[in-house]
């Protein structure tokens, strides 16, 4: 039996899902995707104004795409200069080191500013167990003491949290099984159109 399958059922629930619901379901279509990013941008502007005291920081590897989308959209909305935007890698701060067959490959950290005194918005594509965000908080503090830290995510997989971490800005909340996988597809990175898929693996 697969981890996450309801206990006691006489058949594999994952197999059932795959058979009757197909391999992948479109969770957010391209139009909804654009509207969601728009809404998140407006919420951020509502809270942070012209971003003179704030910074967007995308978490590697997949949060950086959302961060740059939000940066561009926010610049359009405010009509001013685009907000400070950085890329943060949390690999060396993770708590699952030595619990995998292979260590994770680190990605680039690119912050050309210190976060000292800034209102930081951490950005990731999917919030799941919360452990990546925990590691990112540690990685962030190396670069100074921010005035505050908030979290913005495109997808919040509720009921899967292993740590007391919640996002302030959420694109869409999703109830899903642990065995299911979520994929945020970026047009400029993965081809096709921007969308979010739920896969029964």
């Amino acid at each position: 039996m697969r981890k996450g399958d309801p206990v006691g059922l006489p058949f594999s629930y994952g197999l059932f899902l795959r058979r009757y619901m197909g391999p992948a379901k479109l969770l957010i279509n391209p139009l909804q995707f654009r509207l969601t990013v728009d809404r998140l941008s407006h919420q951020l502007v509502e809270e942070h104004g012209d971003f003179s005291e704030s910074a967007l920081i995308g978490i590697q590897p997949r949060g950086v795409h959302l961060a740059s989308r939000l940066r561009d959209r926010i610049a359009e909305i405010t009509g001013g200069t685009s907000p400070l935007c950085g890329e943060l890698d949390s690999t060396f701060f993770r708590d699952d080191f030595r619990r995998r067959d292979q260590p994770l490959q680190a990605a680039r950290t690119h912050l050309d500013f210190t976060v000292e005194g800034l209102k930081v918005v951490l950005i990731d594509d999917v919030l799941f167990t919360g452990r990546t965000i925990r590691a990112a908080l540690d990685a962030l503090l190396v670069h100074g003491r921010p005035a505050s830290v908030e979290l913005a995510v495109l997808i919040d997989r509720r009921f899967s949290r292993q740590l007391p971490i919640e996002a302030k800005y959420v694109g869409r909340s999703v109830d899903s099984l642990d065995s299911q996988r979520l994929k945020v597809v970026w047009a400029d990175l993965d081809g096709g159109q921007d969308r979010v898929e739920l896969m029964n693996s």
Binding site: F92, F97, R98, R99, R100, Q105, A106, V142
Partner: protein
Amino acid sequence: MPQFSHQHLLGIRGLDRNDVEAIFETAEQFKEVINRPIRKVPSLRDITVANLFFENSTRTRLSFELAEKRLSADVVNFSSASSSVKKGETLADTVRNILAMKVDMVVMRHPHPGAAHYLAEKIDVPIINAGDGTHEHPTQALLDCFTLRERLGTLEGKKVCIFGDIRHSRVALSNVRCLQLLGAEVMVCGPVPLIPRHFGSLGVKVEHHMDAALEWCDVANVLRIQLERQGSEVPFFPSLEEYHAQFGLTSERLERLSSAPLILHPGPMNRGVEIASELADRGDSIILEQVENGVAVRMAVLYLLAGRLGGSED
């Protein structure tokens, strides 16, 4: 994405291109880490690394120790000068005793070729070879190639010549293998007695004339004359002065060339023997870059090897 697929780092032999790329990619990130205001990450928290140096070393040992500390590992140091090795204990026994104190990784330098391989068969913690006699010195080769790649973009098709005491150098063998793995053309150059005959079988060019070799190469890796390993009864060359006259790298030699090669030196330098003092001080050599990259590359190796420790637990 390249993965490092070995339990130990005993030599460049046995590694493939993927392993080296994995080390380099990780080292790039660590180079960024050690240039931050806070140069430390918690990855190797709760891992104890033993640095066993059965032979003297300054920079390799310091570099490993710094790498371990920047990764938050606990470090114990051992040098044979002040130990039971002098009382006749065998290598395997010494190391087993140290491991009984719950050490998770071993970094070892030893005067005997193959010591690290021997140990790898006896004990099952990851071992990093920090130089075994005249055999291999993998982390030095990795940091040399990492530095070159940073400077040149790629090593594919580049011409690299290793000058000096090839016979007694562990750096030479590791470098030849690593450079070839990354697609470079390699030449060795030195006095006839200091180049072992079998080097031809590694697929490298052999040259005995300094000027011809300098004209050929894009990169000159100048090795140290290992004064402590020269034959005591029959020397391999008449005198240091004569060596300098024939094989010393000087600015006069470089000025005669159509284009000057990049100069590497793994240290410690014998000024006035294999390299002239004024060249060693010139700003355009990348000798100190090598030292900085040494820490980043060693952090990468430690990280990739330590990360596999818990693999079987889950």
